[in-house]
């Protein structure tokens, strides 16, 4: 009986809906074009999802805590580009570790600044992020450099081709499961454990659920805010370096304008903009769904120029779905609260 309840609850989550969408989409796409069911396609989707997933994992705690932040993309761009230009200048020829260490440290500091402004001046996370987004993109392009740079140190130049597995396929060519999926796994698992098994993690959910009650219960809102901001900065920087290494160039404008896509993926995965809900697995699925839709459109043979419109239409339907579901519910369910 308790199991029935658990199952029922799982069915009602948005995560499950998204999962269903993935399954349904796979079936539909596969039946139109069986080439979809191939390792190559799977690896291709995974590869495209790597960077976005990492960024989503970093942003997720912020969203759960009740805030919305867009500066993470700017932090990613700034920290990865600054690190690269610095390492070039000192003639670095080593491996990826130093890149990640320096960039993530910068990212954490940037997140610290966000956290400070929010807590000290009682500001909305969104408003601060708006300022920092504008500021960092301006900062990096003016003070550090505005051009794309293809000079990769010897130690990192081959990172993009380090695969765990390789496969060949007529649609995707030679693709492989890149080692960086391990990053996704590692970061994802870490964040998931943090959110589920630490007091701090539960505090993030608490804060998103009710800020007042969280304060009353003794959670330190300021500490939590600092933490999620710094975590976001660090992980965004991680994603930035990974993207640059995979693309084999460093560019200060990466992710410009893509902040909303990450937010959309997190929401697709079950998080709520008002906070208190969301999961790592859901966010990951959200990113996958978006990638699947992109590939699906290609595979179904819809002309390139109309693919964006298809995405738009799908989004509109996704938005309208709760409305359709709720009006259905209203007709069948009685209100649980008794009114006088």
């Amino acid at each position: 009986m308790v199991k029935n309840n658990m199952l029922k609850r799982i069915f009602e989550t948005t995560e499950f809906v998204t999962f269903t969408i993935i399954v349904v989409l796979s079936v539909i796409i596969g039946s139109i074009n069986p080439a979809f069911y191939s390792w190559g396609m799977l690896f291709d989707i995974l590869r495209a999802s790597i960077v976005f997933s990492i960024m989503a994992f970093g942003l997720l705690p912020v969203i759960i805590s009740g805030g919305v932040d867009i500066s993470f993309v700017a932090i990613a761009a700034m920290s990865s580009y600054a690190t690269h230009m610095y390492l070039l200048r000192i003639g670095y020829e080593g491996g990826i570790l130093l890149y990640y260490l320096i960039a993530c440290s910068i990212g954490i500091l940037a997140g610290l600044i966000n956290g400070f402004l929010v807590t000290r001046f009682d500001l909305l996370i969104f408003n601060v992020s708006l300022a920092m987004y504008t500021m960092w993109y301006g900062f990096v392009r003016f003070f550090i450099g505005s051009e794309r740079n293809h000079n990769l140190p010897a130690g990192v130049a081959n990172f993009y081709s380090r695969f765990l597995l390789i496969v060949e396929n007529q649609f995707t060519g030679v693709t492989g499961l890149h080692v960086s999926v391990l990053f996704v796994l590692g970061i994802g698992v870490t964040i998931a454990l943090l959110l589920r098994y630490t007091t701090l993690g539960r505090g993030i959910y608490a804060m998103g659920g009710s800020r007042d009650v969280a304060i009353r219960c003794g959670f330190n809102i300021k500490t939590i805010t600092f933490f999620v901001m710094m975590l976001m900065g660090g992980i965004a920087s991680f994603a930035g370096v990974t993207f640059n290494l995979l693309s084999r160039f460093f560019d200060p404008t990466i992710f410009l304008g893509q902040e909303l896509d990450v937010i959309a993926a997190i929401i697709l995965g079950g998080a709520s903009l008002s906070g208190g809900r969301g999961s790592v697995i859901g966010s990951f699925m959200g990113v996958i769904v978006i990638q699947m839709i992109h590939r699906a459109l290609i595979l179904t043979g819809i002309p390139v120029e109309w693919q964006d419109l298809m995405v738009g239409i799908l989004l509109v339907f996704f938005i309208s779905f709760p409305f359709i579901r709720d009006s259905f519910k209203k007709l069948t369910l009685k209100s649980s609260l008794q009114k006088p």
Partner: protein, 504 residues
């Protein structure tokens, strides 16, 4: 264990020149069930906040178990066993029952890691303490108010409360749930936990309190054993006036007046059914009933918020169909809502804008632009007429006291010149002085020919103002009372009587 005791000695507290508490002393002993009663503005909320450490007293001391405190901090007060149950029950709506119950323990023990099995164990223990079984995996936000309240109580006990303070805990409970709550309170007493129950519902106070303390205007005016204390006396101490059990409102001559509103067989699935009544011009008709009786839904239905499925409505003799709020307003119906902050006011906007909010379209000139002078003039007129105390109509509505805010809402509707005015709990959260003025206002409006529906659960208010009172139960009209033919005790009995049917 030595007997636990809380004492407050000579507490004074002022807010900007207004005395909220004036030399108040009281004591509560271990396991006592004490009710703190008073009208809005009497100081009872302030007293609670001082005891729980949210406010600090200007003068006076708190003595808890022999420890003297000039001022106590919230955390210290919790450590001393003082637990307040707030309106949001201090629950996280997005977390499970288990987590909500276990979270205080988790934080106070300083643990960094969460053991979910341990959470469940703690939670189950906590619920067992109050002899209640609730699904641990349910999200707190999806539970009924009664269940949430029980969890809040369980939480308080788990934090080793010695006194649990509840502020108007029965507001959203059905009769059955209220009885369950009282039973839980008696359990708590047996465990030696004192209860301070703040309420204005005198019948409940009579039922549960061992000792009754009454505040009025910042002073303690009564503090005695509840045995033998009747509602009339309590009412007297609360308001300082003799309340006639019978109507003291002027009996207007309604014999010759025609019906302004006729309702026949009105039904709304799941809320009320077969409601029929008439309302004459100049009549004040009270509609009351317990939670779940349908009285509030009926009001919302007549105002077009949730239109009825069946039945007929006639206004001024003509059959009308009220499909939405706009059509209700067009038919000259006004609605003063229960929750004025959420449903009636624009707190950040000016008083003037609030007053003209509903009539703005009538203040336009030929170019479809607002006639500012007229707008201000209209607003000033109503401020004057309704005695709204404010230095300027340009100030935001949130700068007003509860009573004045309610007047602004009234002004907004009166500016529309309605024929029928529906008032839903018009004096909730309003101080004694304003309450009397609002009652006077309602009677004046009736005298001028307005038909008034007064929806309320405040029995003295109903008796004082209404020409007739309709009692609803389970969505149907169960009885009707005429002016002079029922008193407060009888009306109350009728409301909660016949409960053995077990319907609630």
């Amino acid at each position: 264990m030595a007997d636990w005791e809380l004492r407050a000695e000579n507490i004074y507290k002022s807010f900007g020149g207004v005395k909220a508490l004036d030399d108040v002393s009281l004591e509560i002993k271990q396991g006592e069930i004490v009710c703190l009663v008073g009208e809005n503005g009497s100081g009872k909320s302030t007293m609670i906040k001082i005891i729980s450490g949210v406010y600090s007293a200007d003068k006076g001391e708190l003595i808890i178990n022999g420890h003297r405190y000039r001022n106590i901090s919230p955390i210290e007060s919790i450590r001393k066993g003082i637990q307040v149950i707030y309106q949001d029950f201090s629950l996280f709506p997005n977390l499970t029952v288990a987590e909500n119950l276990a979270i205080n323990d988790q934080i106070s023990s300083g643990k960094k890691w969460v053991n979910w099995r341990e959470y469940r164990r703690i939670a189950a223990e906590g619920l067992a303490e109050i002899h209640v079984s609730i699904d641990l995996d349910q999200l707190a936000g999806q539970m009924s108010t009664a269940d949430r309240q029980l969890i809040a109580i369980a939480k308080a006990i788990m934090s080793e409360a010695r006194i649990i303070i509840m502020d108007e805990p029965t507001t959203a409970l059905t009769q059955k749930e209220i009885q369950a709550l009282f039973s839980t309170i008696r359990h708590l007493k047996e465990r030696g936990i004192a209860i301070l129950f703040v309420s204005h519902k005198l019948t409940e106070v009579k039922e549960i309190a061992e000792r009754t303390i009454i505040f009025r205007n910042g002073k303690k005016v009564l503090d005695r054993d509840s045995q033998g204390l009747d509602i009339k006396t309590m009412e007297y101490y609360m308001t300082g006036r003799e309340l006639d059990s019978f109507w003291s409102a002027s009996a207007s001559k309604l014999k010759d007046k025609e019906n302004i509103l006729e309702v026949k067989d009105l039904s709304l699935a799941g809320e009320f059914s077969d409601i029929s009544f008439q309302l004459k011009r100049g009549e004040i008709l009270g509609i009351t009933g317990l939670l779940g009786s349908g009285r509030g839904s009926l009001a919302l239905s007549l105002f077009g918020v949730t239109p009825p499925n069946k039945g007929k409505i006639r206004i001024g003799g003509n059959e009308v169909s009220i499909k939405n709020i706009q059509s209700a307003i067009q038919h000259k119906i006004g609605y003063v809502p229960e929750d004025r902050i959420r449903e009636g006011l624009f707190l950040d906007q000016s008083i003037e804008d609030n007053i003209v909010a509903s009539t703005i379209d009538k203040l336009m000139n030929k170019l479809s632009l607002i006639r500012d002078h007229e707008k201000t003039g209209l607003s000033e007129d109503w401020i004057h007429r309704l005695n709204i105390k404010t230095p300027s109509g340009a100030l935001p509505a949130k700068s007003l006291s509860g009573g004045n805010q309610q007047r602004v809402v009234l002004a907004k509707w009166l500016a529309n010149n309605p024929d029928i005015l529906i008032l839903n709990g018009p004096t909730v959260g309003v101080d004694v002085g304003s309450k009397a003025e609002i009652h006077q206002l309602i009677q004046n409006l009736a005298e001028q020919g307005m038909g008034i529906l007064l929806i309320s659960d405040d029995i003295p208010e109903l008796i004082y103002n209404c020409d007739r009172i309709i009692l609803m139960r389970d969505g149907k009209i169960s009885s009707e009372f005429e002016r002079g033919k029922v008193n407060a005790e009888e009306l109350n009995k009728a409301m909660i009587g016949n409960l053995m049917d077990g319907k609630e």
